[in-house]
Amino acid sequence: MYIVCVTACPVGIAHTYMAAANLEKAVKAAGHEVKVETQGAQGLENEITKEDLERCDAAIIASDIRIKDSERFEDVPTMTVAVQEAVKDAEGIVQELLEALEG
């Protein structure tokens, strides 16, 4: 499976990147492909492209703020979580997503 993620937090220098790192690790550990876009203080980095969107099976948005271009995910099964959850328990989020997709 191919899962795309977006992370963002109000200040955009710490949580955004910690959540991104944890999600990437968790999805890989579950044996799936992943791409994580960060919307931190730098703006969009590692942007999710049109090709990614066509190819992906699901999306995770981990953010405490309104993310940029959320309409991109209109046709993708998307799970939205608080950024804090992704920092603390990324494995749990990925597990929940996979279960939801199967169920």
């Binding site: 109000p10 710490a14 703020i65 993708v76 998307t78 997503l97």
Partner: protein, 350 residues
């Protein structure tokens, strides 16, 4: 959006929607207030602390820098108002939001007024976007009708209705802060410090930061030092604890995390404590809150002022008393460090 429903999580409440929007507004405000605050502070270092009062003639480089800094800093409240509205109603929210932010400054409602104005614009524009408009007129809605009508309506409400009570509230709060005696100053600062160190960048700390940033946007710089200095104590304190606690209490992973905590403390990133917090929540939080409260309280009592809301060691030279700032930072960290080293249980050996 094809939303996946989550277990055990109810639908997003209005409160959560407002909170997310305000947080988005603040995320756009932070570079404005930091950049503007730091430039003004540099100008004050070059040209004296009262440079702001001597700006009738701009004749020195320091004054030019102050002017540039002010040019950015003046956008603090407009930025938070505009981008709060933007988060709620997208692009059409920005223009009326900017107007509410500037108006909030003019009628002395400051940061709180800007937030209220931004939220109001957000709701009004969201509602206007739902109006059934004939196709031929759809194009003029976002470029003509919304900016004109939303700005006028919200502006009138701000000026005549909500402005006065907010201005009164702000004045009362400012008078309250001015009139605090030493004891209550300490309590106020200690509360800020303890909140900052309660959840390492989580909602409690954000609430405290929002209050102090709001006061900063209105020109009160002392609570800002209480916030930043106490926020910087937690990671350093935990790092100190790993030195004191030694190998009996902390393993190699802890020591590795402590190194990054040490670095991140210098740049005011509390999240470095999270790995410790997750492992041993109660003891870490208790130790950090005590250290933070000591530092926060003393910052208020000593009237240590920090014009910059973010930046860690890079903005220490711009505080009203850099040595005191460093001293209080180390003091609070040592308090946290000693307490946590004492509280931590030794590693269980099999």
């Amino acid at each position: 959006m094809a939303e996946i429903k989550r277990k055990n999580v109810q639908k997003k409440s209005t409160g959560a929607f407002i909170k997310d929007s305000v947080m988005t507004g603040i995320s756009y405000m932070i570079p404005v207030i930091v950049g503007g605050g730091v430039l003004q502070a540099i100008a004050k270092m070059m040209g004296g602390y009262n440079i702001g009062a001597e700006m009738e003639t701009v004749d020195t480089l320091a004054k030019v820098i102050y002017l540039i800094g002010t040019s950015l800093w003046n956008f603090t409240v407009p930025a938070v108002a505009a981008f709060t509205a933007y988060a709620m109603a997208d692009k059409p929210g920005i223009a009326p939001g900017l107007a509410m932010g500037t108006l909030a400054g003019t009628i002395n409602t400051g940061f709180v007024g800007g937030l209220v104005g931004g939220l109001m614009v957000g709701y009004v524009v969201m509602w206007m976007k739902k109006w059934p408009v004939p196709k031929a007129l759809q194009g003029v809605m976002p470029i003509l009708v919304i900016p004109t009508v939303a700005t006028l309506v919200c502006g009138l409400v701000m000026y005549y209705i909500v402005g006065t009570p907010i201005a009164m509230f702000m004045t009362a709060m400012q008078n309250f802060l001015m009139s605090l005696n030493t004891g209550s100053k300490f309590v106020f600062g200690a509360a800020i410090g303890a909140m900052m160190c309660a959840d390492m960048g989580g909602p409690i700390g954000k609430a405290a930061a929002m209050v102090t940033n709001g006061l900063n946007a209105d020109g009160f710089f002392i609570p800002t030092s209480a916030k930043m200095c106490s926020g910087m104590t937690a990671p350093l304190g935990i790092a100190i604890a790993t030195f004191i606690g030694g190998k009996k209490k902390f393993d190699d992973v802890d020591r590795e995390n402590a190194k990054s905590a040490l670095m991140l403390s210098c740049v005011y990133i509390e999240e470095a404590v999270i790995p410790f917090l997750v492992k041993d929540p109660v003891r870490v939080v208790v130790s950090c809150m005590i250290g933070g409260a000591v530092t926060g309280g003393l910052c208020m009592v000593t009237s240590l002022a920090s014009p910059a809301v973010h930046g860690g060691i890079f903005v220490i030279p711009m505080t009203s008393n850099p040595l005191l700032f460093i001293g209080l930072w180390l003091l609070g960290s040592c308090v946290t460090g000693v307490i946590y080293a004492f509280l931590k249980k030794p590693i269980e050996t099999k």
